[in-house]
Symmetry: C2
Subunit: 340 residues, 2 copies
């Protein structure tokens, strides 16, 4: 792929899910599997090779250092699915619906150091990474064409990572992604019935029972959800009710850096060579559509989900949407609490 490739967004008429379709044939022979994940010496994301990428969208500068003067950098994706140019161009296609893939695809380089693992980069660096997430989300929220900004991380080839350099990704989209919409709808339905935030209720329930808690800090809890998809899945959620990640305070960033680093360290202690994903679920962009999700401030609560990739999914999961947990969340939390 190169930077001239264009995608279009198509809507699944049955499920309402949008997919991005590359407007160019990738032939059967072009699929290689598993993807090569170690770029070693040829890594363009390393410090000192800034000229080989498309230029910084944002960076946290590092003073007095010879090998690349930055702590974190955000660059345009090498093969962007979402592009900033143009209008939405919503249109029909026979009985189907499509639109232009307007948005942003960015790579968040988490460290100048190629080999550092996210849980080993230290609390200061993790704070810079979280700060970088926040700044990019706050910036993209201003674009009236965009409905949602999604930040995610792939670590290890089982988790779909293509770079061994520590990176996260950002995808800003003109639609609210299906999985997020399901959470918004579920939370709204609960709020309509109970007049309480479902996430706040979960936090209280988890603290009360304690059995699924991995770690509790002043501002966050890390816990294994009651009915998670995958064994050892861990959510990190702020105790303070707030729908939007980008409103995180400086003190919360410091606390989140600790609980995220520690949770990842604990998972790595349990599983050597673990592949995992994590992603942030935050509210849709509030500007200029505040009215559309008018109860959103009350009924949604941002959080981060860590998904260890211990099992390969089969036709059962893909076809039914049901999952089997060979380790219960209670046992998983106990293992994670007990490791150093």
């Amino acid at each position: 792929m190169n930077t001239t490739d264009i995608h279009e967004l198509r809507k699944d008429p049955l499920l309402g899910r949008w997919v991005a379709v590359l407007d160019r044939p990738k032939a059967p022979g072009d699929y290689s599997f598993p993807a090569d994940t170690d770029h070693g010496d040829s890594c363009m994301l390393c410090a000192g090779r800034e000229k080989e990428t498309l230029g910084d969208i944002l960076s946290i500068p590092r003073s007095g250092d010879s090998a690349g003067k930055w702590w974190t950098r955000v660059i345009p994706h090498f093969a962007p699915v979402f592009r900033v140019e143009g209008d939405l161009g919503r249109r029909g296609d026979g009985m189907y619906d499509k639109m232009n893939s307007v948005g942003a695809s960015e790579i968040i380089i988490e460290s100048p150091d190629h080999a550092v693992r996210p849980e080993d980069m230290g609390l200061d660096q993790m704070m810079r990474v979280i700060k970088t997430y926040k700044d990019r989300m706050a910036d993209l929220e201003r674009d009236a064409r965009l409905r949602y900004t999604f930040i995610y991380k792939n670590s290890g080839s089982e988790a779909g990572a293509v770079y061994s350099h520590p990176v996260s990704y950002l995808a800003s989209t003109p639609i609210i992604p299906k999985r997020v919409k399901e959470e918004l709808d579920g939370a709204k339905q609960y709020f309509a019935y109970k007049e309480r935030c479902i996430f706040c209720d979960m936090i209280r329930e988890e603290i009360r029972t304690g059995s699924r808690i991995v770690l509790e800090t002043r501002h966050f809890i890390a816990f294994c959800p009651y009915a998670s998809k995958f064994p050892f899945e861990t959510w990190i959620i702020p105790k303070r009710h707030h729908c939007a990640f980008q409103d995180i305070t400086a003190e919360e960033i410091e606390d989140m850096s600790f609980i995220l680093s520690t949770s990842l360290q604990k998972l790595r202690q349990c599983f050597d060579g673990l592949s995992f994903n994590y992603f942030i679920h935050s509210a849709p962009n509030r500007i200029p559509r505040k009215d559309h999700w008018h109860t959103l401030g009350e009924d949604f609560h941002w959080h981060l989900e860590i998904m260890p990739r211990l099992l390969r999914t089969s036709g059962f999961e893909w076809g039914s949407g049901c999952y089997v947990l060979p380790t219960s969340p209670e046992y998983a939390a106990q293992y994670l609490r007990e490791v150093k």
Copy 2:
């Protein structure tokens, strides 16, 4: 795992998705990855070793043969997630909800021959496999506790296969699986608006445009859906409107055997060593809940989805529910049409 392990079903309070949780700790060290997939000489599913499994639920007998007198066999799963004994036992668990994992977990052995690939087993054998699916679904539909019977296949380790012997699986569940419910709801919504079956409309649209058709027979079409999840995803759907797979006619079975075998052969021609899943989406059990999905006969249409596993999913897909297709359905269908 052994046959005394019990699962419970837990409901995700946010998404309404049920997960089965094993009531016994599988420790971190018990996860091996990737799973071993070749049992070779030790395969208990092969002809002649029938005594080592739990006994036939159903089999299609084969006369005058020494090496196992059957063409297909259905046996209880070695590690069943769903069990026939007991009642549903719906109950609360703090703020959450759970129930017993009542149902059926079965293994459908597709051939006495360990090494045959599904697309190479021949049309007669494929017909027996489809007939076996039909007979099991029709039988399980009579159990008033069960809402849904789901048949799926995993082929290759990337697709979550654990046996190299050709098998399919059956899971009969006391709930309608989330992914199926989404299709039912989507189809119902379309029907409410258009007063036509969305699948019948898709069939007409695909035949009209032709660009996504892989193969057309008298009773079926195989096509790459307009907004599929995965590249080269192929659906096989009967032209005759019918909601329930188990009502398939003998003539349709013959035709389906041909179109399914040929579609799998074409995929294998494009991708050597392909891992794939397929599964059948049919209507929920109609007995005794005919009234519950009262428009179901009109608004749902059974089909089979083949999912080639060419890409590893990342945090993007899991966290957003969006997908990226590097090959458009039009190009994929063209490649598949053109291979022998």
